[in-house]
Symmetry: D2
Subunit: 354 residues, 4 copies
């Protein structure tokens, strides 16, 4: 079929990597040509991930052993740092969709502050050009730019949920951008798949706790985007993430203030209207609470809005699956947009409840 493209995946042995395999294997226009994972090179993918064994997948490859010229789109599921180091070696002719944090922050100095290393864009011309020209891949907000870009930097999971909840209100000036408190709760997969004692079942099961309070790396990303949306260059937010004992799912509870002259009902109607046509974002009817279980495994984002007891206060709550809309699903959605295909191709899975 003439529409079919070849894709390659860098760093396919982590959670976002194989969720990209899971989703793209059902996409009728996509052929997975390479799944690279250097530490696991040579292993049969279906032995490594027996849940994928009905697919006819090959072995993991070293990225150096793949012929990247023969693929149309490269997805990077590598950790930040590694992502830029390896992308530097990719053919410039490819479309690249990066799921790492490396190209989300436009200012390399901000990157250095939060990620503790220099961005290679400071030294490398190709990377510098990429950083400049890349689009921030929050599908619902930047669809037009995504259509024409060859480098898409997919947002982090928290920024995805937070910005979908905040964008209509901040862009329209209905919400006070300088008074935003985001209280987030994530399932454990948000912390990745490396073997750390603090992610063992017994350490996090049956417990809830905060982490990275006031210094989580998704903060500058949210602030950068809120600044763009509000034309206010110096936005600062409160962001307090927690781990709760579930594998997938993320809920952001946002406490915000209405600007003078706005009332809750107008805000609610405006949100309903803003997301009327978006296949993956639904503003829930009053009386229905968002629940991560209702979006688990799917690319959906559910948003609930609540009038608060305090004057001019509003609570906006959004839920996503951090590995799908918060990562691999949105990456595929961006591919669909970039290729001019129906935005929902390969992404019509319904949440696995219960």
């Amino acid at each position: 079929m003439s529409d079919t493209i070849n894709i390659g995946i860098l760093g396919a042995s982590g959670y976002t990597g194989f969720d990209l395999i899971r989703l793209s294997s059902l996409h009728s226009n996509v052929n997975i040509k390479y799944a690279s994972a250097n530490t696991n090179a040579g292993e049969k993918i279906s032995n490594f991930f027996p849940h994928l064994n009905q697919l006819n997948l090959n072995t993991f490859k070293k990225w150096e052993d793949c012929n990247w010229d023969s693929v149309d789109i490269i997805f990077s599921c590598l950790p930040h740092g590694s992502s830029q180091d390896i992308i530097k070696n990719m053919p410039t002719s490819n479309i690249i969709i990066d799921l790492s944090a490396d190209f989300r922050l436009k200012d390399p100095d901000v990157y250095k502050t939060w990620y503790g290393r220099d961005h290679e864009a400071k030294n490398d011309k190709i990377l510098s050009k990429i950083l400049e020209s890349s689009v921030y891949g929050l599908s619902e907000l930047y669809k037009d730019n995504i259509k024409s870009s060859n480098f898409i930097a997919c947002p982090g999971c928290y920024p995805t949920a937070s910005l979908l909840c905040l964008a209509p209100g901040v862009k329209s000036g209905m919400l006070d951008v300088n008074n935003i408190i985001i209280d987030a709760k994530s399932g454990i997969s948000g912390a990745g798949r490396s073997a750390k004692k603090e992610l063992l079942f017994c350490e996090v099961g049956e417990g809830a706790k905060p982490y990275s309070v006031a210094n989580h790396r998704h903060i500058p990303e949210i602030e950068q985007e809120l600044s763009k949306l509000s034309n206010d260059s110096d936005v600062k937010i409160n962001f307090t993430p927690h781990l709760v004992p579930m594998s997938r799912g993320e809920i952001v509870t946002i406490h915000a203030k209405l600007m003078n002259g706005c009332d809750f009902n107008s805000l609610f109607d405006f949100y309903k209207n803003s997301y009327k046509e978006t296949p993956f974002v639904k503003v829930l009817d009053s009386g229905i609470n968002p629940d991560t279980l209702n979006v688990r495994g799917s690319n959906m984002c559910h948003i609930g809005l609540y009038k608060d007891r305090m004057d001019n206060s509003v609570t906006i709550i959004g839920v996503i699956d951090n590995l799908v809309k918060g990562s691999s699903g949105q990456a595929l959605q961006n591919m669909n947009i970039r290729m001019g295909w129906d935005e929902t191709m390969g992404l019509n899975q319904i949440a696995l409840f219960p």
Copy 2:
């Protein structure tokens, strides 16, 4: 499209009901015409099950208010007892796929012993004829009969997993049918969706326990089928089910004895061969353990075989998602077989791991 059929679902507000909706909504040849649920009649399905809200579903209907003549296939997701009572009223021209226990046992007296009520087939001619002519819908075993039957009685979840693990060995005479111990562990959804104290999160979370030891209702069903497969009319098994703290998934650990002259390697090869072509049953390579998480949400059954320390002993372990291969998925698989479609249509979801 000429192939599209209309289906109706009886009892759509339980776990098997909405999982049938989840799966069939992605089946390109199926249109869900009715979802009946008498106690919830009139409620918008997408408010009741917000995880389905991207589908354009109607309200739940009373079954009496549906025009069943206008549907091609009726799925009954009602509890046993109710299922026969309502199926009695369905048009005889329809294909009926019953997910309840009402038509699995061929002998109404056995039904009475285990389910504590008379089977209406004793009094009602239509039901009697149905019971006689119905096929036991274990897809991999009875494909030919399913193709031509208008009433398919889908197996219980434990029998599905147990029989897929046992059929090749018992039918071939390699396993001793009179020495079978099935130690089963199920997620909580296996116990249904009614509001019972013993199914509350706090009562079953973080605990494991047996239930219905030696008297679970799936016992006569497994024994009936093993008798058929072995031509031994008086099979008795040990069956010990447990509840473990997860929502979906079921694992059966079967302790069996090899018949004289058989060795483990031949058995392993025979199983590998028996399930070489089945899209939904995979015998795992030696060294890979079955894990319910690797089949969650999918229609797959993974089987592992192990040689034991005791002479002539073998351990066969199977995992399924009790709501999919153990219920709604297999029902759709049977529909595909009955309609002459590709067996995997609408069922190619990959397990949601993690």
Copy 3:
């Protein structure tokens, strides 16, 4: 031993009831004389709760069948409403420790607004006197009053955690009482033990969601107490509770503002000092995050304080076991205080981690 007292428990078959049994059975000065539970009257307690079977417990009794004059302290673990209805019938000579919501709110009109029924104190002289004279049993705040009171109304779980986090800052005027956002997450036992569909394992397992946003019944209780602490009669808070998939445990994440002239370090030192001597409340060293798992099963409250990025913002996070410090444990602590015993008697259990 002359110090030993007899206690009776009203409503002993719920989670707070048997946790009171669990804890008081290890208290060397306490003899459990009656455990009443009208719907389960006649059942052997150790069959109903096999985890208590090493204790020599009797059967549940109807409360009408107990001789309440023969007990020294009555604990009511009944639901609100029932609690006042039955307490009305208790001897006036007893010390009563009420774990329900019935006597927490001093204003019967506020009670009616939030609990949807008239408070009997409006018609009944004894109850009216009780309501007037009762002490709000937050042990650390009202120890002196508890010492001399014969009716102790124990706080709700959320108010316990929230007020322990807020009291030093609000009472001292270091925190702005009119700008308090409490984002709370509770394990499922917080919702009680009645058989409701929405509390089934499958409905809440692996999911996180808000509930009762801006209208939870613990709101007026927190506001009443913050008003007392601040001498500001009209405090309004934002309170947003969530359910997360664990059995026990509660975490409150409080976003507050420092008053002019206060800085974070002074606040931190003041908290450290305020809770220097309290056996059950610990302010954690900087760098240690509160975790519900670290207090599970114990009467401890851990508090963490964090400086925020936004100017003058502080995040205060507290964790408790909702059934212990949030309920039965604090009730026993109050008994110890009232009897003049060491506050920690019977309450030195260490958290069950993992």
Copy 4:
């Protein structure tokens, strides 16, 4: 108080180590003098384990830096291998209670087969003497020997539960020792606290799976003890362990055969009688199912017996907390027995349900 003894703990930073701290800190006759943990030496224990922060604990020490002569009893919570290597250096005057696997198997050749290394007892005289003279510390079976032994090798968690379930029947000759199938399910803490990918929350949460089928290291230990109990030198069992998604708890489901002439009721009565006086082992009344949640955190073992459908078949199901009765709790119970104290001292905690 003259009865107070000093204890030292080797390897205190794992799950069994700190559960020993949790339990012994409430033991009125015990003073924890040292908690050694070489990799964490110097760290404040209460920062490492905040759930212990109400205890006045010191820092972890290197074992080389402790004065072992000054302690009365040494508990080794080290992994097998390390345990013998370090115990070699301990004063011979101490009582040693070893929680590792190093001294459970009397035959060093069997040890080598299953643990893959030579036992030092082959070369070292002290260790050789220890191995010879040590008692297998299953408290209920070997109380008399424990009373007079200076080296107690505590059983593994699976052997503890399995042998408590089997001992009365095997010793009395009522059960066929050559036909025993043990199907075991354990919470994740049974696999220890090292940072392995396969123990991450996301890898084991919401899934159930077998592991080490027919080759788990607890097999030779169970076989050794069954041989002793039955005077049959060549016992072989089937042992199939599974991991289920909970932190603590272990359930063994044992499928066994009655010997000729025995019936189920006699067996049941014999078990009831055998465990009539044991404070920590309870045979449940018929109709009550064992549940790991009912023993979590406590030193209890609950046993249920069930008559099976197959002739002469019986199912015996036992539950323990693997970290308590299966490890640290039994170690303390053995200390109590050795010291001539009440067996239950410090061990009267009631299970944490829910």
